[in-house]
Structures are given as structure tokens and as C-alpha cells.
């Protein structure tokens, strides 16, 4: 299975017109180490076989061998471009299990950092998607410019830019510094203008539209059958958002919209991400306005031993529904540490979408899915 070079062409002996094209695992447009075995008839894709697991680190097994606090660091490394969301989902699951309370101020900080992280994640998604359809690196550099400022904000509150492990059960690790709110507000004030800039580079670009409109159409029925969530489902006309379906944290206090589009093609998936960035800006602005003073961490036992039982918590991560299923046997370590990874499950439908398109569009469709291999392979 793993033999062979990164790209190889195999002429199948029985039918000279069919060709097997091996895309990946080390290919810039696979967003990590993901491999697609494409069966081609001329330039048209007639068969797709995704191969994954190159980045498998057995996070679920490792989680069973660590204490609850130690396992937080594992969650950072799954969706490493949206670690705050992973931290939050895991913290919610453990809080459900152990019955921990979260103080008000920590709830607001959680919403602020996860929504900032959603913007950062969508910036990568939009920027690299542009690179996939051939805009080269200009939009990517534009989006990274603002992502840098979000990472600076994370640096202020968590002390690191990536893998922050900032949200823990019972609250957050430490309070945000005094100038954080002002700096975040300044950043958010200019963010809508910057999103306009991305749009002027991509949305109105004729070539971009030609490459993405009508490509990879995902009808809502198919999306439902394949358990698709996140921006991909919302681009197919399914107004499903866990923040509305099963409100967690304090999302019910803010005014914001769930963007829905009905085309279901790559362009709509891109547009959903753009609109979600604008909505996230609104949420963070409201949270920064209302954030109260007070504790950032609830009362915690020195050694966390949740009572026997299990809990499932799910959140709307940038890529879809992220769930953690934790089983406790009463000890200091989780008995079962299961992750419902949105990228992994969204990938199930990829083969269905790609068949019938040209091989150049396979790259675009994969790019519009916004997968991150740390989460797919775990």
C-alpha cells in the first residue's frame, strides 16, 4: 500500500484509456500528508480512493494513558490551526463528567478566544484555497497578515502562539492581560475591512469564480446521509450549527447569524467561511463589550477524579462538529478518550463529490473541504 513514489502513473493493462494517478501523500495541495488514488479516464476522475493515517499518533490511546490535565495537550495537536476549539470541547466534556462550574469571566474569555480562533482557521482555509485554485500566494499572505495578529493575542493570554492548552476544565489557565481587551478591540475594528480585502482578491475574481462555481456540488440529501457538518453542510443549505442546535458555553447571549447558502459548490463553501468570519467578529465584539471582572477558574480539586460515568460534549469547531466522548472509571485517567473529528467524517463524502470532475478540480474540491490532517489521522 505504501510502496511507490509520491506521484506515479500506472497504465492499467486491460483498458489503455484508464489511468491511476497517485496524488500525495506529500503534495502541497493535500494540506498535509493525505493521499488520493485517482482513477482517471482521460482527464475525468472515475474513481477515488482516499488513503490516510500517515499522521496517526493514536491520540485516543495516548489519552487513556495520561491524566485529565495532561490530555489537554493532546487536544491542541489534533486540529492544530484551531487548538482553542479542541481545548474547549475537551474541557466541556470533562466538566460535564465531573460537574464543574465555570465562572462568568472565564466563559467570556472562552468565547473570545474560540471565535478569534475560528477567524484564524478560516483565514488559513480561505488563503490556502486561493492557492489551490491558482492565485498563487497573494491571498494567503494577506490572510496570514491578520492571522499573525490573532496569534499575537493568543501569545498575550496563553503565552504561546500555537498549541496553547489555554482552556482547561473549570475555566482558563490565567487571566488575560489588562491591555488585551483594548488590543483585541482595535484588531476587530479593522477586521471587516480586511475581510473586504480578501473578497476583492478572491470573490470578485473571474478566474476564481470559474474554477469554483458549479464544482463539487453537494446536494443537501447527500450531505445528510454522509453526516457532513460545519461550513460544508451550511453551504449546502443545511442551517445546522451546534451553537444553535445544542447551545454550549454562553453563545445564547450574543446576537449573530448562522450563514447559509444553497449552491453547495466550492464557491459557496468559500463564501460561508468569509461570512462566518464576519459573524465571529460580531460575537467577539459583543463579548469584549460585556466581559465582567471576576474569577477565571472555578473551585477545582487538586487531583481531578471524575465520578464513574461517561459524557459526550460537542461544539461547533471551525471545520464542523467536534465531539469528545470521555468515559471515567473513577481514576485520574480517562478510561476512554474518543474524538469525533469533523475533518475525518467530512472526508467520507469526498469520493462522491470528486467522481465526474476533471482531475484539476479534485484539488479544488479537496481544498474547499478545509481538512487538517492532524485531526483526520489523530
Amino acid at each position: 500500500m505504501f510502496e511507490g513514489a509520491a506521484v506515479e502513473l500506472v497504465q492499467s493493462p486491460e483498458d489503455a484509456s484508464e489511468l491511476t494517478l497517485n496524488m500525495g501523500p506529500q503534495h502541497p495541495s493535500t494540506h498535509g500528508v493525505f493521499r488520493l488514488i485517482l482513477q482517471l479516464d482521460g482527464e475525468t476522475v472515475v474513481g477515488v480512493r482516499p488513503v490516510m493515517g500517515y499522521l496517526h499518533r493514536s491520540t485516543e490511546k495516548l489519552g487513556e494513558a495520561r491524566t485529565y490535565v495532561q490530555a489537554v495537550t493532546l487536544t491542541d495537536r489534533m486540529d492544530y490551526i484551531a487548538p482553542m476549539s479542541n481545548n474547549l470541547a475537551y474541557a466541556l466534556a470533562v466538566e460535564k463528567l465531573a460537574g464543574l462550574e465555570v465562572p462568568e469571566r472565564a466563559q467570556y474569555i472562552r468565547v473570545i478566544v474560540t471565535e478569534l480562533n475560528r477567524i484564524a482557521s478560516h483565514q488559513i482555509a480561505v488563503g490556502t484555497f486561493g492557492a489551490d485554485v491558482g492565485t498563487w500566494f497573494t491571498p494567503l499572505i494577506y490572510t496570514f497578515r491578520e492571522r499573525e495578529e490573532i496569534l499575537d493575542l493568543f501569545m498575550m493570554c496563553a503565552g504561546v502562539r500555537m498549541n496553547p492548552s489555554y482552556i482547561r476544565f473549570g475555566g482558563v489557565v490565567r487571566d488575560v492581560p489588562p491591555d488585551f481587551v483594548e488590543r483585541a478591540r482595535r484588531f476587530l475594528d479593522k477586521m471587516p475591512r480586511k475581510i473586504d480585502e480578501y473578497e476583492s482578491l478572491l470573490t470578485n475574481n473571474e478566474i476564481f469564480q470559474a474554477r469554483t462555481k458549479g464544482i463539487g456540488m453537494l446536494p443537501p440529501e447527500l450531505a445528510k446521509q454522509y453526516s457532513v457538518t460545519g461550513p460544508i453542510a451550511r453551504a449546502s443549505g443545511i442551517p445546522y450549527d451546534v451553537r444553535r442546535a445544542e447551545p454550549y458555553s454562553i453563545y445564547d447571549r450574543f446576537a449573530w447569524n448562522v450563514p447559509v447558502r444553497y449552491g453547495g459548490d466550492c464557491f459557496d463553501r468559500y463564501m460561508i467561511r468569509i461570512t462566518e468570519m464576519r459573524e465571529s467578529v460580531k460575537i467577539v465584539q459583543q463579548a469584549l463589550r460585556d466581559i465582567p471582572e471576576g474569577e477565571i477558574r472555578g473551585r477545582m480539586p487538586k487531583v481531578l477524579r471524575p465520578p464513574k460515568g461517561d459524557a459526550y460534549a460537542r461544539i461547533e469547531a471551525p471545520k464542523g462538529e467536534l465531539g469528545f466522548y470521555i468515559v471515567s472509571d473513577g481514576s485520574t485517567q480517562p478510561y476512554r478518550f474518543k474524538v469525533r473529528a469533523p475533518s475525518f467524517i467530512n472526508l467520507t463524502v469526498l469520493g462522491q463529490l470528486t467522481i465526474g470532475h476533471k482531475v484539476a478540480d479534485a484539488v479544488v474540491i479537496l481544498g474547499s473541504f478545509d481538512i487538517v490532517m492532524g485531526e483526520v489521522d489523530r
Partner: protein, 189 residues
């Protein structure tokens, strides 16, 4: 219809039976249910799983979120978290639980006929826990290597770390420094 065993077993349960459960009880008369943290947890026999899931989908619960397996040492348990995409109309959250014998490869009916999207998740459960799904279109390992030994999420699973990781470093890429039989199980890549 069937006797209300679950309600009889839980006289303290003040909550009346949700209407969806009556439909499920037509399929599996001996199911038990309880509400835990807002989720409706339904325990089914293995043979009723597919029909119950199909009934649930007809009732509007059309979103199979997560397929989970837990190794309880004396048994394996499959969990299916089922929601509805139309969350305003169907507010329940179902957790279908199925017990399996703890064998090397216990059989479990596949839900891919109802939700094709269960394909990768069931492959993952097969890979990491060793549950064989009957009726699955393409049941192969998904995250680990094809000739990976055992199913790592089993609690009694152990791993010979030298097998894949170190042997070629110790004995050289061609196995030239290996003692007789020392390259057993090592595949050159």
C-alpha cells in the same frame, strides 16, 4: 404491544416515555432506556440495531454524529450518537448502545446502508477496536498500516516497538546486521 419493562424497572423515573421510544419498542421489545445529561440512551440487542436505526431515521433523526466503541474488558460496546439536522422540530438526542461479545473480531451490523457516511467511522472502529461490521462495503484498516498487529484501542493490547520502528535502524535497511530470524515480521519499504 410489548410490556413496558423499562418503565417497570424504573419506578422512580418521573419522566413519561418519549413518543419516539414507542416506535422503537415495536422493533425491539426488550430495549431499556434512560435519560442521562439530556441524552436519551437506548440499549438495544445487536440484531435490532439496523431496523431501529432505520426507524429512527424515518422519525426525523437523520444525523448520525459519532460511532464509538468502548472496551469494557468483559464486553465491547458500540455507541451511536444520533441527532436531527432539523433540530428545531426534533429536539431529542439519541444514544444507541449495543453490547458485543469480547471476541477477537465480534460481528456488528453495519449502518452504512442507512447512513453511507458511517463508512470511515466504522472502518476506524474496525481498525482500532477490531469490530467486524457485516454489510460494510469496504472494511479495511484506515489509520494504521495494513499488516499492523492487533487492534490498539483494546485494553489488553501490547506492542512490540522494535517490530516496525527500530529494527531497520538497528539492523540496517537491508537487514544485513540481523541475527538469523531477526528480520521476522519486518517488511522492507
Amino acid at each position: 404491544m410489548a410490556v413496558d419493562k423499562a418503565a417497570a424497572a424504573k419506578p422512580a423515573e418521573p419522566e413519561p416515555e418519549p413518543p419516539e421510544l414507542a416506535a422503537l419498542r415495536e422493533i425491539a421489545s426488550d430495549l431499556t432506556w434512560e435519560r442521562k445529561r439530556g441524552y436519551l440512551e437506548v440499549k438495544l440487542p445487536r440484531d435490532n440495531l439496523v431496523t431501529a436505526a432505520r426507524r429512527l431515521k424515518e422519525l426525523g433523526y437523520d444525523y448520525l454524529s459519532a460511532v464509538t466503541s468502548v472496551d469494557w474488558m468483559d464486553r465491547l460496546e458500540m455507541l451511536y450518537h444520533v441527532y436531527s439536522y432539523d433540530f428545531a422540530a426534533h429536539r431529542e438526542c439519541f444514544v444507541l448502545r449495543v453490547d458485543l461479545a469480547r471476541e477477537a473480531n465480534p460481528l456488528c451490523p453495519s449502518l452504512t446502508t442507512i447512513w453511507p457516511g458511517a463508512e470511515f467511522q466504522e472502518r476506524e472502529v474496525y481498525d482500532l477496536m477490531g469490530v467486524k461490521f457485516t454489510g460494510h462495503p469496504d472494511l479495511r484498516r484506515i489509520l494504521t498500516d495494513e499488516d499492523f498487529p492487533g487492534h490498539p484501542l483494546r485494553k489488553d493490547w501490547t506492542f512490540d516497538y522494535e517490530r516496525v520502528l527500530v529494527r531497520h535502524l538497528r539492523y540496517g535497511a537491508e537487514g544485513q546486521g540481523a541475527p538469523p530470524g531477526g528480520m521476522e515480521g519486518f517488511r522492507s519499504v
